[in-house]
Each structure stands twice: as C-alpha cells, then as structure tokens.
Symmetry: C2
C-alpha cells in the first residue's frame, strides 16, 4: 500500500518533469536545480553569481521555500525576475509546482532558469523538476562526513559547490576527505570551492554555468 502511493507520486512527478524538460528544450532554456541543506548558502551563492551572468545571459529564478518570501526578495533586489514558490511546510519542490510557475516568467526570452530548492538535504533530491543540471551545495560548516551520510544529494549533481570556505581555518572540515567521498558517490561531478566573503570561486562558477547554457549566449 505504502509502496503504491510512493510509486504514484513519483510517476506523476516524472511525467510533469518530462513535460517541463520538453518545453524548456523547445525554447532552448537551460534549467539548473540548486540543492542543499538549510543554511548551506544557496541564496548567497545566487546573490554572488547572478550579477556575473546577467550581462550575457537572460536569467530568471524560482525560489522554493516553506513559508517566507525572504529569498525571493534578495533575488528581486538584483533586478532578476523571480517567483517565490511556497510549499506551505512541504519539504521539497516538485515538477508540477515548477510547471505552474512557467506562466509567471518570460520563459521564451530566457537562456537560463535557476530553481533554488527547499533547504533540505534529503527529499528534494528524489524529485526531478525537469532540470538539465543539478548543482548540489555542501557548506564546510556541515562537516566532511555529509556526502557519505546524504549520498542522494550528491549522486546526480553535475557540480558540487563547497561553500563558506572562509570558515575552513576554523573547522575540522577535511577537503580531501570530502572530495574522495564525492568521487566515490559521483565520479563525474565537478567540484568548485567558494566563499562569498572574498568572492573566491565565483568566476569559475559563472564560467561553468555559461558553458552549460544551450541557447547562443549574447556577448
């Protein structure tokens, strides 16, 4: 009984995700699903990288959150089109919620759509939103044991971002151990270290995102 219910949920989601991806493909829009735990630094990463993208890419953001519009306000302050997706306590986004948001953004004009998922290292990874690329975030304040403990978060990531690297001298986070475990779980993921305090790593991130975009990029 329980397994049937889960299967239906995922089947329904996978159908909506396939529809989303087809629509995005037709329009040549690349979609990135940004995943990570609460307070791992997802919105701060967007605040740092979006200004480096908007001169060459037409970008919009969908912001997943439980109850507040705080993150969408931070993105709107950058003059980037944004829609807040409130889950009303729900622990992840799904493809249908994203589909509903397509009508609220200038989808046909975009090169890039970034979906910031709900802050949760577990549930969001189970739901395909129709994205082309997943970026998963690991804050060094969380500890280097987290890839082993939350493998699904990292398993399908095209890129793993280490965030808050300015805290490295003040934690016992072992970068080599984290990278080794990440390679075991997902040998193909790129890894970039970032730090919003000194802005280090964001040139590489912006370049990685630009390379991933499919519609010819205006320069």
């Amino acid at each position: 009984m329980k397994i049937d219910v889960l299967r239906n949920v995922f089947e329904h989601n996978d159908r909506a995700a396939a529809e989303n991806r087809e629509r995005l493909d037709t329009l040549g829009v690349t979609c990135i699903n940004l995943l990570g735990g609460a307070g791992s630094g997802k919105t701060s990463v967007l605040e740092a990288v979006l200004p480096m993208l908007t001169d060459s890419l037409s970008v919009a953001v969908l912001e997943g959150d439980l109850v507040t519009t705080a993150d969408a306000e931070r993105i709107a302050a950058l003059n980037v089109p944004v829609v807040q997706l409130l889950t009303d306590g729900g622990c992840h986004l799904n493809a249908t919620i994203v589909q509903h948001a397509f009508d609220r953004i200038p989808l046909a004009d975009l090169n890039l759509l970034i979906v910031e998922n709900v802050g949760n290292p577990i549930c969001p990874a189970n739901f395909d939103l129709g994205e082309h690329l997943r970026i998963s975030i690991l804050s060094v304040a969380e500890g280097h044991d987290k890839p082993a403990k939350y493998p699904l978060l990292f398993k399908e990531a095209a890129l793993v971002l280490l965030t808050k690297c300015d805290l490295l001298p003040h934690t016992d986070f072992d970068v080599a151990a984290a990278q080794q475990e990440l390679r075991r779980i997902n040998p193909n993921a790129d890894v970039i270290s970032t730090d919003v305090k000194t802005r280090s790593g964001f040139d590489r991130l912006a370049e990685w995102i630009r390379k991933g975009c499919r519609k010819p990029v205006a320069r």
Copy 2:
C-alpha cells in the same frame, strides 16, 4: 486523495507515539527527541554532554540516519547503549521505528532515552515519536534567518540549542535577531548557546536535561 493519505500516515504515527509515551511513562523513562538540520552538530552535542550525564543517569541513545552507522559508532565509543535506526533514505523517524527499537535497549533500567533524529530541518518535526521533550538545534553557521524559515522545527521545542558558537566572530549571525524570532515562534523555549571547541554551555545543558528527567536520579 493526497490529504487522506497524509491523514492516515499521521493518525497511525500518533497512535504509535501515544503507545510509546505510555510505555515510557510506566517505566519512568524521560525521552528527548533531538532535531536539527544536516551538520548542525547533533552528534557532537551528544558526545559532549553524555559523559556529563552517565554518572548520575542511566542513558541510552537511538540514532536516526539514512544509510550509515557512523553516528552510532561515535556514541558507542562513549560506552552508552545505542541502536542505529536506518531509514534507508527516508527523511525522518516515526514512532513505529522507535517502538521497534525499544526491545533492543534495557528500557526498564533507563532514566533517559535520547533519540537523535535524521538531519533534516523539516520532516522530522511533523512526527511525534512519543517523546516528552524536544531539543531543536540551530547552528550559527546556518544563519539567524533560519527560525523564520523553518518555524515548525522550533515551535514545539522545550529547548533550542545554538551550536558552533565559536564560529560567531567569523559569521554575520545575529544572536539577538535569532532569539527575538525564536521568542515570536515559541515564547516558552529555553535557549542555551554551546560550542564543542571550548565546551562552553554543556554544564547548563547537562543541568537542563537532569532537571527534565522524571525517575529519581542516583547521585
């Protein structure tokens, strides 16, 4: 349809939770449900406080995790009875999982049972395990906006632990703002600041836990 399924899940859980609480009450065992996001410091808090409790209290721990036994090994190293509860990817513990674990620990001999939930700031808060007290953890590395963004995590906590306070000088975490928001969500919660590096706050935490225990404590 979706609402019915959820209602059934919660009804089933609430029944098992009530059974758990009744059994614990009969035996005079106090049960604490320890909640917090991934990498918020739950296991490190237990490593710091358990040695301060075991001379006067008979304690056991149930360790929730997705796939690894790493946390249970850290607790076993303290010579505290521990059972690893693996959810196999599931995002929270429930009362039935806890019920099954009761037969694996010397329940009648205990003063205190601590259940460390799965690292997730959302789903675990929805599931009563039959505990008497909830302790919710907020790492200062996560940011002071997290109580507003994950209110359910803090709403029913008897105690909120601020962890990793040694990182305060290196973050923009605003303790006053966090406390103000916590008071708005949950005016009755105690708040204790901790830091495993200097061990600060753990005297207060140990005293708080001892006061919460119901069976006469051997001294």
